[in-house]
């Protein structure tokens, strides 16, 4: 077998040796002309020779020699050798390129007559060199182990500058590591790696880029990335900047030590085309992440890890985004905050995004529209608030005018003071009403109108935007929002704050807050829960609105340990409406905090056949009432004292012992105002509440202390009543 291999090797070697090539060396440039292609090479007047269309002055020719070099058509190779560079041009493209050199500074000009694509192969190392190319035909640039620093600019300050407005494939060859560094002074380049046209990064090698003057990588048109590993290790401005759109299919992009944004994409022209099919002719300013891994860290004031003029769309991939810069107040009328993703619209359809936000008043995502349809989004925001122009600016997890959390797993943890996990809607801030700010630590006692309902806070006019969670079919995201920060100046922490109306169709929600003023879900307009399963464990109000609050589907458990469980300040009939579904609302704070607080019990409406259980302190002063008009099913306000204990399971049953609902408490609750209404309750019928220390085991739904569809029966009588 060895003899066979040896024989083949010898034959192959002999074959290779017979491919003659004429090498025409002109200084540092060698034109490699395959004998088979050379044809007649014409001398003119003893001054020039024309070979394959390329005319060269004889006086410029260093030498010509013939060897057996195998020439790859349509290629130009540049090998950097510290202070110099050697350029090799394939014969069939010789007539289309002009090469100029100054030491290791290489400039190549492609003729507009070039009929096909040239591949430029760059390798070697130089501490003072560059590659500068002009042309009007698409090209491929291969990096095959290139370490290039432009110390003293000749053609531009960039390490690689491609002034060709067409598609440029930049292929980082497999197994190679390449490093580009531009000039810190002496140039006016836009980036260490600059491309006037469309830059398509590919290959399976590694590219390191240091932008010492402006951006690290800049494409004046769209930019795509696939397979390769790109490390932006330093930039005075953006790590990666491009126009039209940015599309990442795969590979790894790491950006750090940048003076401005990590990845920025702008609309190039005056008209935004929006997303187009196959991105053909697209000038949208969109960022698309379809796969791959991104690690982006920014530290400068007001900077964004990803900034898109229009949309930032994450379809797949793994993104780790960290921003820690403070507030940029260069424009005092429009301060800029460190933000992980800032765009006109943010859409997540898949993938995994982890955001760490540390900068003052920093945001996870800020967009006009936010839409989540899948994937995992985790935001850890520890940013502190700040007062700017007498206005408190606090950190946000998600901030948008229109928020549509349709699907996906979203986990937001806010630990800075006054932080808002989600902020939705917009409006004109008008005044602070008489009830005083709801964050105020000195809360009035039980004598105030509406008991614990703080009806105050900022009011808004000209409200715009929307907040929806889940879809009409009952599906929705898995949402968990936690805030641990305290109030700051006039601003409280909130888990979800909406100026606009809130509609919850489905999904699963868990909300946790633990400081005064930190409400779970607040809307300045209204809240409508239509489906899904939701759990609020909050120091302040779990669900609060200046408008009406409606429970008409799904299962909602509200546990407040410092304020009302549900608080509407609508001050009108229907302030709290119980339709279908189930809501269990309790406050362990004691009087005057209530399960359902809407200033007057008569404002409560029962419009469906759902379940509503509340427990809490007594109705405060003012126009309390014990009756509900036009209730669709039986109900009862129980004002006698009930001492609910943890570890007990309380079953509401009819006179025949049928379980209507079982509920339990996370904290001891001394209730002096309780509302009972449940599916099947009828007026004038008798109902009992009995306790047991055994949890129901056969509930069709068990959700944070609420058990539906169970056959459990209590053993110890707690209370009984006749339904109204």
């Amino acid at each position: 077998m060895k003899r066979v291999y040896s024989f083949i090797a010898v034959v192959m070697t002999c074959l290779a040796m017979t491919a003659q090539t004429l090498n025409v060396q002109v200084g540092q440039v060698t034109y490699r002309v395959p004998a088979a292609q050379s044809g007649e090479m014409i001398y003119q007047n003893g001054e020039t020779v024309t070979i394959m269309g390329k005319t060269v002055s004889l006086s410029d020719i260093t030498q010509m020699y013939v060897d057996n070099t195998v020439v790859e058509d349509a290629t130009v190779s540049v090998v950097y050798q510290e202070a110099s560079a050697q350029v090799e041009v394939a014969g069939n493209v010789a007539q289309y390129v002009d090469v100029a050199l100054s030491g290791a500074h290489v400039s190549i000009s492609q003729s507009d007559a070039l009929p096909f694509e040239i591949t430029y192969k760059l390798s070697g190392a130089s501490a003072d060199g560059e590659f500068y190319m002009t042309g009007s035909y698409k090209a491929t640039v291969e990096l095959s182990g290139l370490t290039l620093t432009n110390a003293t600019p000749v053609y531009s300050g960039a390490a690689v500058c491609i002034m060709d407005g067409k598609r440029i494939d930049l292929s980082v060859k497999k197994g190679t590591e390449n490093t580009l560094t531009d000039a810190a002074t002496g140039g006016s380049q836009k980036a260490a790696l600059y491309c006037k046209g469309h830059l398509e990064l590919k290959g399976q090698g590694t590219l390191n880029v240091y932008g010492k003057y402006a951006h690290a990588i800049k494409s004046a048109e769209y930019m795509q990335m696939k397979n390769c590993t790109v490390n932006v290790l330093e930039a005075v401005k953006d790590g990666v900047s491009c126009d039209e759109y940015f599309l990442m299919e795969s590979g790894t992009l790491t950006i750090k030590n940048v003076g401005d944004d990590g990845l920025q994409c702008d609309v190039d022209g005056t008209t935004n085309t929006g997303e187009l099919q196959d991105h053909e002719g697209e000038d949208s300013g969109n960022v698309y992440i379809n796969g791959g891994t991104l690690h982006i860290t920014t530290t400068a004031n007001g900077t964004k890890a990803i900034k898109a003029d229009s949309m930032a769309v994450v379809n797949d991939g793994t993104l780790t985004l960290t921003v820690s810069g403070g507030v940029d107040t260069t424009d005092s009328t429009d301060p800029s905050y460190a933000t992980a993703i800032s765009s006109g619209k943010f859409v997540q359809n898949g993938g995994s995004i982890t955001m760490t936000v540390k900068g003052t008043a920093g945001r996870g995502v800020k967009a006009y529209d936010i839409e989540t349809n899948g994937g995992e989004l985790t935001i850890n925001n520890s940013a502190a608030p700040a007062t700017i122009s007498s206005d408190v600016k606090s950190a946000k997890g998600l901030k948008a005018v229109n928020m549509a959390l349709n699907a996906g797993t979203i986990t937001i943890t806010m630990s800075g003071n006054a932080g808002k996990g989600i902020a939705a809607g917009d409006g004109t801030k008008s005044s602070s009403s008489s009830g005083g700010p709801f964050w105020a630590p000195q809360r009035p006692g039980g004598g105030g109108g509406g008991g614990g309902g703080m009806g105050g806070g900022t009011t808004y006019t000209n409200v715009t935007g929307s907040y929806t969670q889940g879809k009409a079919d009952g599906t929705g995201p898995t949402l968990k929002v936690t805030t641990t920060g305290s109030a700051y100046s006039s601003s409280s922490a909130k888990a979800i704050k909406a100026i606009c109306a809130v509609t919850v169709y489905g999904g699963t929600t868990e909300v946790y807050t633990n400081t005064d003023g930190a409400e779970g879900l607040e809307s300045k307009t209204s809240i409508n829960i239509q489906g899904g399963k939701h759990y609020f464990k909050c120091y302040d109000d779990c669900v609060n609105s200046k408008g009406k609050i409606t429970f008409n589907g799904g299962v909602t458990v509200c546990y407040s340990f410092g304020n009302d469980a549900v608080d509407s300040n609508a001050g009108t009939t229907g302030a709290v409406t119980i339709g279908n579904g189930a809501v269990f609302a309790y406050s362990t704070k004691g009087a005057p905090e209530e399960g359902f607080d809407c200033d007057n019990n008569s404002y409560i409406q029962i419009t469906g056949t759902g379940i509503g259980i509340s427990a809490g302190g007594a109705q405060g002063g003012g126009s309390s009432s014990s009756s509900i008009s036009n209730a669709k099913q039986g109900y009862k306000f129980v004002t006698s004292s009930i001492s609910y204990k943890t570890g007990n399971y309380y079953t509401l049953a009819d006179n025949s012992g049928n379980n209507l609902v079982t509920y339990s408490f996370e904290g001891a609750c001394s209730s002096s105002l309780a509302l009972f209404t449940a599916t099947g309750m009828t007026k004038n019928a008798t109902y009992t509440v009995k306790s047991s220390t055994s949890a129901p085991t056969d509930a069709s739904t068990a959700w944070h202390g609420l058990y539906l569809g169970s056959s459990a029966k209590g053993t110890t009588s707690v209370t009984s009543f006749t339904a109204q």
Partner: protein, 142 residues
Amino acid sequence: MRNKWMIMMVLLLAMAVQLHAEDAAYNYLVLSQQDGSKAVLNVSGLRIVFSEGKLVATNNDGSRSVALSDLSKMYFAQDAEGKVTGIETSTSDAVQQPVVAYTLSGVRLGRYDNMAAARRSLPKGIYVMKQTNGKNMKITVK
């Protein structure tokens, strides 16, 4: 298993020979002068420089110089007589053996089973077709 390897290697060898057959050996460089005279140089070790109004060629056979003012052209040849397989113009599809198509600037476009297949596949234009016997033909696809 061993036989499979053998077969594979033989096939690779055959392919290499086939590819090589497409590139005829040009072992000579012909310097043609204004008066029609020719100097045929063996390319083995050939090096040419231009100095003091002369082309100075050096190879394993020695050194030779030609006044630049006398030079008209140079080309590669396949034998010591300075002959080169000319490029004929073909208008027929009689060539039944495989051909490789090139643009006039030397860009390889592809390999075809025969001339007719090449004509069917290529867009309008003029091409140089290289046969496996080393013979070249120029064709026009209309």
